[in-house]
Symmetry: D2
Subunit: 243 residues, 4 copies
């Protein structure tokens, strides 16, 4: 069955800064969508949506037609309406997969699902990032080089304030010596969540073949098991005779 992926991007840097537009002429969402199509082919159908779209492209029907949502945001987290955030959270709890990227650690959809500050250390100095696999049997790490070498990147460092993840898949180091839990998974309700930190607007990270491999693997992994979209809810069952 085809996985329906929706790549969401605030798309602000690309439309306001020519230097960024040069790196991502089709937007970060365009680059990510292209990578998914390239690696997953018929396995996936990819749509994109941005902040400027009506209801940010996150209307009820759009989410109902999405198996896995990828999220990139940075400067406009606060411009995402609380209604859209609540819808996304409800769909994740009901089974939609969510892949949060890079500066999306501060996106409302992420901090509300995790309940922590999701704060971290950062420094934009074009440092080399090495992404090491800590779970070689994990589906998201399948076929991924150890380490992934990213020539120039923004540094994200510990302490990364997240709850204990379900699976610890990747840990990065940076030229300046910092480390970061760069690939971690969570479960909320029936939904699977993957956070992956490599990726920044100033570096062409989403064209990196290994980063694309990780995202393609993650889309497969986060796809819901069941076709039904239903968040857990309260029930008040009568007492039963079991036999």
């Amino acid at each position: 069955m085809t996985i329906r992926a929706l790549v969401w991007n605030e798309n602000v840097h690309e439309t306001t800064q020519p230097a960024i537009r040069e790196i991502y002429p089709d937007g970060i969402h365009g680059a990510i969508a292209q990578g998914l199509g390239e690696l997953l082919g018929d396995e996936v159908s990819v749509r994109t949506a941005t902040l400027a779209d009506p209801e940010h492209g996150l209307a009820e029907e759009a989410l109902a037609a999405t198996d896995v949502l990828l999220w990139w945001g940075h400067v406009a987290h606060e411009d995402v309406s609380d209604e859209a955030v609540a819808r996304v959270q409800r769909h994740v709890l009901g089974g939609m997969g969510l892949i949060v990227l890079h500066s999306g650690h501060f996106a409302k959809v992420f901090t509300r699902l995790l309940g922590a500050t999701c704060s971290l250390a950062w420094r934009n100095d074009g440092e080399r990032e090495l992404v090491w696999t800590t779970a070689p049997g994990h589906p998201i790490a399948e076929g991924v080089e150890h380490p992934i070498v990213i020539d120039r990147q923004e540094m994200y460092g510990e302490h990364f304030d997240i709850p204990n993840p379900d699976d610890q898949v990747f840990i990065s180091s940076f030229e300046g010596g910092e480390v970061f839990r760069s690939g971690v998974t969570f479960t909320r309700g029936r939904g699977r969540i993957f956070y992956f930190s490599p990726g920044d607007q100033e570096y062409p990270v989403y064209f990196h073949p290994q980063v694309r491999r990780v995202l393609a693997n993650a889309v497969r992994w986060a796809a819901p098991v069941s076709a039904e979209r239903r968040a857990p809810e309260v029930s008040n069952p009568a007492r039963r005779e079991w036999v």
Copy 2:
């Protein structure tokens, strides 16, 4: 060092329903506070606060003077102000321990820290609850009978929609056959969280010696390691020479 515990209770049933007042003449908060004092003596100083207090008794200074906050609520979750909830969340992230009791699974302070629905199955039919220890080496289970037998209780059953807990300490069964993860721990920021489901306004559960033992153990366990109260925050360190 004395652990400063604050027992918070919405205190609505007790003040509006004589039958409940009879079970808990000093309020649920009073019964819990009494149990902590009895078991922990000088180790703890216990205060109480209720919804009706100014700022619900959860003003900045009150929280700053609290090492472990115990929370009981049921019918008035929505009456707790968002400001108070935000303060509690910030203090937990900064290191304050939090013990959430019974119907507090739907308290805003809990669902916001966990990011899930925290929904469950329930039935109020005065059933026998057995609380089994699944982590006998855990500090919260120290000296606790296996199982705790509670003669009459409201049933709480799976599926309990919580994130994967850090530690799975107790699992309950009920006369009707349901099971429930009745004692689980979480970490958020620097703070430790324990959820414990036994306890209801209609049954004198907070007078049960074994339940009191669990709560006393939990207060010790949730007390912050450090005297400093500071939630994790973003930093932007310069690159350093390390040697």
Copy 3:
């Protein structure tokens, strides 16, 4: 790609006790194999092996040709040779899935991979078991009734001495009031492990459609991601220039 499942059974009760043979005329392995074939069809190729086979049917080539090994044992754990156990452990670390059933909690392959006693409480009194799903979004719980009702079963109860599992999928209750973490997952090396407690030689549990559904789901879930079978090993890399 077809999943190659191998159902291993000590096959002692069935060959020495006519009453058990009546319940499982083709052996417990036969009943399980039949269920997998029925539910997974072409997705799976199923073989069986027993203690009495040369090298217990667990020779190097047999394991190399196995994606997921299912294990049932009870009275003959000590008769499994240490060489066979070491081979199984190595294959699991290298990526082979392992599903351990019921009294297999004391199998050498399980206790060595877990490092704990794997002890529990038990009572054979033909009690009703209810198997409740605690992770409704988990692939192993897909399409499974909540709860599974098993009319008569041996009781397995807490404390079950296992390490903290990766995923907590099912919890059972028994007529006598006991509870048990009846479905739990672990990772060792590149291999995925699922323990599932329902199933006993004296009750026809492996003919139960819901138990069969769980086992079929688990075979899919435990199948290795990669075709390569290689346990993690020490390396001594030279220092590299990364860019």
Copy 4:
């Protein structure tokens, strides 16, 4: 109550290589014991034992009188008798704390308790190690600098083949770019286990004030909750009337 710590060291490098003896004139065990005494004072009573002692200093009575065992080994893992290893494992399952250091990742006591290969990447090139805290509210991280800077060290790198830890406390980076989960906790039976990788015979790591702080914190954390030493065991309870 005084915590009874036992520092175990194979003590082979120090007695056979003068250059190592110069770094650790009282042995690695002597340096560690001195650090614990310095930081914990009356809170702890520290003994030491080595491979050459009768029964390696790990006789039944020695372990029965130990709350927390610290373990350093490297070239002589195979010389530790299986009987001693079985005793240590049994005491850990019964509640004794265990702190495994550096090359102890390949000690039989560790691999048997974890069930994995515990393999890793290594390179002895005198590289700078930075030890970053990933769990700032954890008792083992209390008062520890972020990062700990160790000027020269052997590199230990991922993939470190361990089961998913309970708590992820420290992650290290090395000059050559590798990362390592250098501080992780596990539970087995009633016992708490902490693995901490900094520390090597060729570098004076166990004199580093921050490393000493970590070990002192870990001794406190790993001390058993209960005075009783009893591994979990099978029980066969009769059916009870609960109320």
